[in-house]
Amino acid sequence: MTQPIKFYQTGTFTVGNRLLPPEQRSVQSSIARDNSLNSGHRACQGCGEALGARYAVDAAMRATHGRLIAANATGCLEVFSTPYPESSWQLPWLHSLFGNAAAVGSGIAAALRVKAHKAGQEQSDIRVIAQGGDGGTTDIGFGCLSGMFERNDDVLYICYDNEGYMNTGVQRSSATPPAARTATTMPMGPEPGAEFGKGKNVPLIAMAHEIPYVATATVADLRDLEAKVEKAMSLHGSRYLHVFVPCPLGWGSASCDTIKLARLARETGLFPVFEAENGQVTDVTTIRRRVPVEEYLRPQKRFAHLFGDPGRPDLIARIQAGADRNIERFGLLGSQTSEAS
């Protein structure tokens, strides 16, 4: 009698995915992976974005059998991946401006459609991703992003969210969390760091456009990230993936803590991990072991002003309240029904 044996994926590659059927294994575990973002790029040690992008783009390449074009916004990813005269990209790649990756993606998709029609095909076999950081997506790129969603252009947009304008020296973006220190939200005065009551939730805004697929992911669950990319590439129309990527330099965290911090962001409830289709939440990653926000905040120097003597326990409490709200809203503990669906 045979019995399926479950092997639990851990956050490391110690087992190397060998115990999973091939199609469920991480793209990165395959010797045939594309290495779309090849080694030799100039990212910082421990860069969450480099990790996320490598996984995401290779997963998209596998899903499309290598028939993929990428548009990239200005930002860390673009800068560290293309230090003149080198490029670490192994797929066709276009960097235009800071705020237009989504529109450029729309343009690429439009040209591909016409080329396909000219060749007598219903649609092109070549797919498009557009990618950028939180700055280029939630702020300066917001108009183009909404336009792409509204037209339902056939592009997967991936936002690598490290909660600030990192490449220019760690300034605040609309993705910067409350109380975080940045160069434009210094830890001084009555409300040190980024102010509460600001910022925007782009995944929810993407859902409001009722596009085919919206998902969030982190670099703590890399296989989940890949699966979401593959799911997205199995669909057509506008799709949005928001990936939480810690930035050791900008956050003042240890470069070896990147994946741990991403996991803590999920486990505190500060970063809800979910999927949605056509404006409705379809799946939520529940928190396995709930953790108070302090555990997440402490290892990051950008929150150092909240600790110490006397510190700001009141602000920590407000951050905790925000996490509690997310847990309630998205049903992150699994037992309650969520508001978000």
Binding site: L68, P83, Y84, W89, P92, W93, L97, N100, A111, G147
Partner: protein, 417 residues
């Protein structure tokens, strides 16, 4: 085939004949009829296969164009005035990347104060960005230039701006000779990109370039525009062979050979100027006219050759550089370096103010007698200007300028402009 249609319609039909793959535009007066016309042609299936994207801003329009062109699609957009400014970052990006996008600029004034009427401030504001700039004298030339523009852009791998006067040309019904598809196909081959996003041959486009190579990359853009100086007349000549008429080229001189006074201008005002010059010739004046058709690259040699023998040059332009004076006249002066002659700048038609034959006869008459100031604003109402300056000298809280002037003018609607 001869047709009596609106200028915008003529451009829409000629762009359609060029078989664009992607059209992306955001509406702005006075370009709206062009993109509406093209939208209709795509929707009806007459222009197919073609993707028509209704974008959410001009910045998005040029960005979509960049993505499309980089993927090997023949791409077209159109804008004017505020819209052109809104997309400026992408305009520079397109020329910096060497993408052969063709864009119509339906020349319109830039605010504040907001003004929807014609002048050249919009395209002039982008004269340094690396796009080729061609100016149309008439609707026939506008439609002809778009066909030449795609050919020129794709050959040179650089974007081309076709400038046509907003309202004056875009909204005028005139007779045009619309080519047929066979003629355009004979003139304009399919787009063969120099660089293209292709999974079978991946490249990275848009890398950062530091001090070690930036100057060289930028110089190459300049070098290519200088090469365009030779190609533009050649393409115009090839065009004439297939379509049977003269359109485009660098400059068009009219009766300059023995002229003592030569007027220089761009765009639709040339028509009125030509009539005035002919009238003055009938009166015995040795006067000529030079129409600049390619403004970028600026045809220094051709302008010098046409104007060098005159005693005086009057540059009549619908643009000016605040705090300095003429824009076009500055470039013309450069062409005339070292040649002694009287140079006059006449700024006219800003914000759509009509340029009449009477005013032209008067101001050119003054020029011929060398009684003109170096810089003249044609038909300026000095009374109103001085009244406002006095008002400001008197009160700190003098209020918005535009509103004050309009009040001084009384009921604007009563005037027939």
């Amino acid at each position: 085939m001869k047709k009596q249609i609106e200028g915008s319609r003529a451009v829409a039909e000629s762009v359609a004949l060029c078989r664009p793959d992607v059209i992306c535009a955001y509406p702005i007066s006075p370009q709206t009829h062009i993109v509406e016309g093209l939208g209709e042609l795509v929707k009806s299936g007459e222009l197919s296969p073609c993707e028509f994207l209704n974008v959410e801003s001009e910045f998005a329009a040029m960005s979509v164009a960049i993505g499309s062109s980089a993927t090997g699609g023949r791409t077209y957009t159109a804008t004017a005035s505020q819209g052109l400014l809104f997309m400026v970052e992408a305009v520079y990006n397109a020329s910096g990347l060497g993408l052969p996008i063709v864009m119509t600029v339906a020349n319109r004034a830039i605010g504040a104060p907001i003004n929807i009427w014609n002048d050249h401030s919009d395209s002039m504001s982008q004269r340094d960005c690396g796009w080729i700039q061609l100016f149309a004298e008439s609707n026939q030339e506008a439609l002809d230039l778009h066909i030449q523009a795609f050919r020129l852009a794709e050959e040179m791998s650089m974007p081309v701006m076709v400038c046509m006067d907003g309202f004056i040309l875009t909204h005028a019904y005139e007779q045009v000779d619309m080519p047929d598809q066979a003629q355009v196909d004979a003139f304009l081959p399919p787009y063969e990109p120099r660089q293209v996003l292709d999974p079978d041959d991946p490249v990275s486009i848009g890398a950062m370039v530091g001090p070690e190579a930036f100057m060289e990359v930028r110089y190459l853009a300049h070098a290519k525009q200088l090469m365009a100086l030779a190609r533009i007349p050649e393409i115009a000549a090839e065009f004439e062979q297939i379509f049977g008429r003269n359109a485009g080229g660098l400059v068009r001189p009219h009766r300059v050979e023995d002229a003592e006074t030569i007027v220089v201008a761009l765009g639709s005002v040339i028509g009125t100027l030509q009539e005035v010059v002919d009238t003055m010739r009938d009166q015995g004046e040795k006067i000529g006219l030079l129409s600049i058709r390619a403004f970028r690259p600026f045809p220094l040699a051709e302008v010098r050759a046409a104007l060098g023998g005159a005693k005086r040059v009057v540059v009549l332009e619908k643009s000016f550089s605040v705090g300095l004076g003429g824009v076009v006249s500055t470039d013309v002066r450069l062409a005339l370096s070292g040649i002694q002659l009287h140079g006059y700048t006449v700024v006219a038609g800003l914000g759509g103010r009509a340029i009449t034959q009477d005013s032209l006869l008067r101001v050119l008459g003054e020029a011929i007698e060398d009684k003109l100031e170096a810089l003249t604003f044609l038909d300026l109402d000095w009374d109103i200007v001085n009244r406002h300056l006095a008002r400001e000298a008197e009160t700190r809280r003098s209020g918005p300028i535009a509103e004050n002037l309009l009040r001084d003018l009384g009921v604007v609607g009563a005037k027939v402009y």
